[in-house]
Symmetry: C2
Subunit: 340 residues, 2 copies
């Protein structure tokens, strides 16, 4: 349980920090959570539905009830939320220090009833259910006019920040558009104004001809970005120009599930089952705010957690990537070729 | 050994990534370096001077020769440099992809001949030698007009990105001013223009009255910043307004060594010897470029590595800090009080 949650603004850079105190965690306990609740059955397992807050959404067998067994995908509020969906909101300014209450939504998407399967191991139909769930939650939370962004991400493995091993992803919806999202939007808008076309559509056109391409299917491509921050970082882009993941179509979900499974299986094999994050990049709410439809293009970024972020990265904001993107792509392509 | 090193510019956000291929590292070997060369004596130990590239600087006993025993602090080029000090420089633009050669300086500062002592354990006179060495290297590299920034940082512990346990810090000098440094400079310049005074001097004045103060000595204060990104993040600021660490005076070095040791010992005790980074923030080269003297103020940021950076931080650029800064400061103050 968190005792409080607030946004604090760094007075120099304008960066927001969420201060969310964790009840009863002693300083020396950091990073010791991994084994605590990893035993089978865990709180995400069927039969343990009462151990989580009541579900916000689920895909389940007919004639089964919410918060009982019979689900295939289940969305529940995070028991340790970084943000809280409660009122009243406050906003204080004290000299050059500024804070506001940590309003927002923080949910967990349990991807499978199985305690032992990773997302990569699931049948494609089950991955489709997970992606369909992402779409439904983004749509639903978009109805709350106080929320301006919905971030869907996955931390797999302790080194990537996961606190439980049972396969799950997370959703955080916030009243502010996050800084990194804004930087990306700003870059995309400038490109659109300068070139008259979508940056991501141009990248797709370019990367189809380049040696960083990993896989192309009917509706998606997977490639290593030119300036990848991390070894084996890989992006999946829909070929159809669309700013909002929430507008993904049924056939696209199916094709996306297929390429995502290919990519995750390749990472698992080539890098020996590493921890990783993935982050869904989609346009903010509401769509009427800006011409997102024109200049933005949703996509997924997958970041294997192979190296620790060190003083140089903290100090500079530069990244050091020790694997040439073209070489990483070659390894991916070789694996996919050998497998088929 | 790195085979190549280049800066690649992310075409969307303008972020630079250093791509520096590590020779012969297989994908599954990431993060396995910690034990490889940690045995005593290691390449940083006395008697092993021939195992490093020739030294760039040292503080050593009279009548001892460079690259032999007798040193107290020793600076050598990194054997695995992220940047290389060699010519020729190239700068290519290929469509919207841009890169340039990874020119720069990457050195290791070996802080003690002892294989087993941490920086926190060293006598204050030895910490003074380390700080004096930082000053000398920053001054020396500032003579090269191609270099515009010199970053000094320390990674202690594997989780903080250190690859060898023998106490050392690092220096990277670059031809570009890093993005994070620019953000901080921009914030400080705007504050100066708006308020007519130095942001950091104002913070010192404010924090002397606040509950986030950890320790004050004659010439420095240590405190937890208002919007700390990480649990137990702590900053040390000189009370004298000065933009350039390279202008630190003899009595300040001595006082800085004292408070740095206090802070590092407290971190070690309270958090059970965690991995950590520290980063020296100082103004760019050359001083004539801008009014750094007016608006900037050098300082040291210490970041314990207690939590992993996860999908949420990568996706948003927000940080989640699970320890309230005022509570962290209280723990530090209690430790310092109990000890004395």
């Amino acid at each position: 349980m968190f005792l409080m949650s607030e946004f604090r603004k760094d007075p120099l850079t304008g960066r927001w920090v969420i201060v969310a105190e964790e009840r009863g965690v002693k300083p020396y306990q950091f990073g010791e959570g991994w084994e605590r609740e990893s035993s089978f059955p865990c709180v995400f397992c069927p039969g343990k539905e009462h151990c989580t807050p009541p579900e916000a959404f689920s895909i389940r067998e007919k004639e089964t009830l919410p918060n009982e067994e019979g689900w295939r995908v289940r969305v529940v509020p995070n028991r340790f939320p970084a943000l809280l969906p409660c009122e009243p909101l406050h906003h204080n300014i004290d000299g050059f220090y500024e804070n506001m209450s940590g309003f927002g939504v923080h949910e967990v998407i349990i991807e499978t009833p199985s305690h032992y399967l990773d997302l990569a191991d699931l049948p494609i139909s089950q991955i489709e259910d997970v992606l369909y769930t992402y779409r439904e939650r983004i749509r639903k939370l978009g109805e709350d006019p106080r929320l301006h962004y919905c971030l869907i991400f996955k931390n797999q493995g302790e080194k990537a920040g996961a606190s439980l091993p049972h396969a799950h992803s997370q959703l955080i919806a916030t009243p502010v558009i996050p800084k990194r999202v804004q930087e990306e939007l700003m870059g995309a808008r400038e490109f659109y104004q300068r070139e008259g076309k979508c940056f991501f559509c141009s990248v797709i056109e370019e990367e189809m001809k380049r040696e960083r391409l990993v896989k192309e299917v009917e509706k998606f491509i997977a490639f290593i970005p030119y300036a990848a921050r991390f070894p084996y970082e890989i992006w999946i882009l829909p070929r159809r120009h669309c700013a909002f993941f929430s507008e993904i179509e049924k056939e696209e979900i199916s094709n996306f599930a297929f390429i995502l499974k290919e990519v995750l299986l390749a990472i698992k094999a080539i890098l020996h089952d590493p921890a990783f994050n993935f982050i869904l990049h989609t346009a903010p709410y509401p769509r009427s705010l800006e011409n997102y439809d024109g200049y933005y293009h949703w996509h997924l970024e997958v970041l294997p957690s192979l190296a620790h972020i060190a003083g140089f990265e903290w100090g500079t904001g530069f990244y050091i990537n020790s694997v040439i993107p073209e070489e990483a792509a070659k390894a991916f392509r070789q694996f996919i070729k050998d497998k088929s």
